[in-house]
């Protein structure tokens, strides 16, 4: 460990410090190779009438966007997207934070409980979808059977078969799957809350709620914020559950923008038009990114 105590040479001090760019290099290289081109291509596609099998046909300018915005269904897609995104992530955030606070308590078998709490997050989406398909099945499902037995409902409910309940039900399934993710992120952030600060606040007579609000919240806020922003983006683009459980229906009541994008690109074969849906959504989400960056910049300044 002599290197630690050896005086740094004067020469090194003057040399430009390349640590920062060097440390960033791998990340930037990966993004450049695997993200830059596919992204630019997706944007380019949205200005063409490329088909999935037929290669590039031609530049059509804003035509795709024009037909997208004049499509009477677009309003429904947009509304579903917003409800899906905010509903799913909102539930995950609230219950994830509560879950993290619980898992941060000391109790017997805590390690086992923490592990078991991970299961919904660690189950592949197709299985999550199929399990819930059967649990919620109107004719043979457990949920309807229990609710009928208890007397809460008189006849079984087709959770995914009703345009009013399909999207909310999808949101609940999504939350079930996503709560552990939020819980782990917040749980980790809770470990960085300075214990001395909490202790001294308590000795100063602060109640549990005040300690939580004035000490814990500010300390976990950066983690919560970035988790929130990225979870919103991922959830916005997450179509696996809807594709298996409702196919976007009944009608188009649970079709979000990315699901419409996928169906247009892969089932209709209109890759260019499909890309334009994704570009519109990306533009909306980019606003979210901009707000986040501005917020954090102010905090860091």
């Amino acid at each position: 460990m002599t290197a630690l105590t050896a005086a740094p040479s004067a020469k090194r001090r003057r040399r430009p410090d390349l640590t920062a760019p060097l440390f960033l290099l791998p990340t930037l290289l990966l993004l450049l190779v695997f993200v830059a081109y596919p992204f630019l291509r997706a944007i380019w596609l949205s200005f063409t009438d490329t088909t999935l099998l037929g290669g590039t046909l031609g530049f059509v300018g804003l035509d795709n966007f024009r037909s997208l915005f004049t499509d009477p269904s677009f309003g429904t897609y947009l509304r579903s997207s917003i409800v899906w995104m905010t509903g799913g992530v909102g539930l995950q955030l609230v219950f994830g934070v509560i879950g993290a606070l619980l898992l941060n308590q000391r109790f017997r078998l805590r390690g086992v409980v923490r592990g078991l709490a991970m299961i919904p997050w660690a189950t592949p989406s197709v299985l999550v979808a199929l399990i819930w398909m059967w649990l919620l099945d109107p004719n043979h499902g457990l949920v309807n059977a229990v609710l009928t037995r208890v007397g809460l409902i008189h006849s079984p409910i087709a959770w995914f078969g009703n345009p009013h309940s399909a999207l909310p039900t999808l949101i609940v399934v999504d939350a079930w799957q996503g709560i552990p993710f939020f819980a782990v992120m917040v749980l980790a952030a809770l470990q960085a809350v300075p214990e001395e600060l909490k202790e001294s606040a308590r000795t100063d007579g602060c109640g549990t709620l005040r300690v939580f609000w004035f000490i814990t919240v500010p300390s976990i806020l950066p983690t919560v914020l970035i988790t929130l922003v990225l979870r919103l983006i991922w959830t916005a683009n997450y179509i696996d559950l809807a594709y298996v459980l409702t196919g976007g229906g009944p009608g188009i009541s649970s079709t979000t923008i990315p699901l419409a994008s996928y169906l247009t690109a892969y089932k209709e074969g209109a890759l260019g038009s499909g890309a334009s849906y994704a570009v519109v959504q990306a533009a909306v989400l980019a606003v979210l990114v901009a707000i986040y960056i501005r917020l954090t910049r102010r905090r860091e300044a």
Binding site: L30, L127, A192
Partner: protein
């Protein structure tokens, strides 16, 4: 090394352990009463949570031991009349599930290792240095997550093909590292930001090079952050479906989410195989996280003192 740790701990103002203990004792008596009431409530809430979380998993587990005939008529929704382990036997004897499992574990673990290295480096750079273009990099990392994967698979396929990385675990790992790193970077950067800069300064005064500072001070203190980021990366790779489906074509590289799809045919859905695979697939994550969660303990001071 010892001297350095003391300096580091001292710099962030950790008080003498004895004094902390006395203070704790004082508050403990006061909160004793509260705890007697709060304890049962805590257990009730935990039990409710576990029922909600594990209920569907238990249904899946029961389905996996249900005789096939009952499954055809009722799907995953009835209590079995008697237990049958035929699904498990068939899963291991007639399907390449062991390969899927091995591929998933190797791919996910490799992704965790590479992504944590890449993301830690980036996080340190973004948290500890100020340079022109820093905000651009921060923005780019988020922008990289904006598009749905369905639109990216075609060009990515072409690129992996020309690099001869299609149908290989290496190709999958590269793609996964790319898409898992942005969040991991932000997460680790957040943890670094919460570690006081005095720490670095103390180290610099002691004559640490930046590399040594990272190795001996930041990484040890980052353990909760690394555990959380590692868990995220692992589960992301473990569950990822679309890239795995598109970029792999043989049992030498196919992962569990792809393997599960083979059990769903046009006219035959093998509930027994699907659920048996689902039950087994949860085990590595469960055990893995039970080990990793030990890092999610204790505050900053404990980490700094222990090193």
């Amino acid at each position: 090394m010892v001297a350095l740790e003391r300096t580091a701990a001292g710099a962030i103002g950790v008080r003498h352990p004895d004094r902390v203990a006395t203070e704790r004792r004082r508050t403990r008596t006061a909160s004793m009463l509260k705890r007697i009431v709060a304890r049962p409530a805590l257990y009730v809430v935990l039990v409710l949570w576990m029922v909600g979380t594990l209920g569907p998993y238990v249904v899946m587990a029961l389905t996996s031991v249900t005789p096939e005939k009952q499954l055809i008529a009722y799907g995953m929704s009835r209590l079995p009349s008697h237990f049958s382990v035929r699904g498990y036997a068939e899963l291991f004897s007639t399907t390449p599930f062991v390969s899927y499992m091995a591929n998933s574990i190797i791919t996910a673990l490799s992704t965790v290792v590479f992504s944590l290295i890449v993301a830690s480096a980036a996080a340190i750079s973004l948290s500890r240095f100020r340079f022109r273009g820093r905000t651009t990099v921060l923005t780019t990392l988020l922008i990289a997550q904006l598009f749905p994967a369905v639109l990216l698979v075609i060009p990515l396929s072409t690129m992996l093909q020309s690099a001869h990385l299609l149908d290989s675990r290496a190709g999958l790992v590269l793609v996964y590292v790319t898409f898992a790193t942005p969040f991991a970077t932000y997460l680790l950067k957040g943890f670094l930001d919460s570690l006081p800069r005095e720490l670095d300064e103390a180290a610099t005064v002691d004559g640490c090079t930046p590399m040594q500072m990272v190795r001996y001070i930041l990484v040890p203190l980052l353990r909760p952050g690394l555990a959380a980021a590692g868990t995220y990366i692992f589960i992301f790779s473990w569950n990822e479906f679309l890239y795995a489906l598109t970029f792999t074509s043989s049992t030498a590289s196919q992962t569990i989410p792809v393997g599960l799809q083979f059990f769903i045919g046009d006219y035959q859905i093998r509930w027994d195989l699907l659920t048996a695979a689902g039950v087994i697939a949860a085990v590595p994550v469960l055990v893995g996280f039970m080990l990793v969660q030990r890092q999610l303990i204790g505050g900053l001071s404990a980490g700094a003192v222990k090193g």
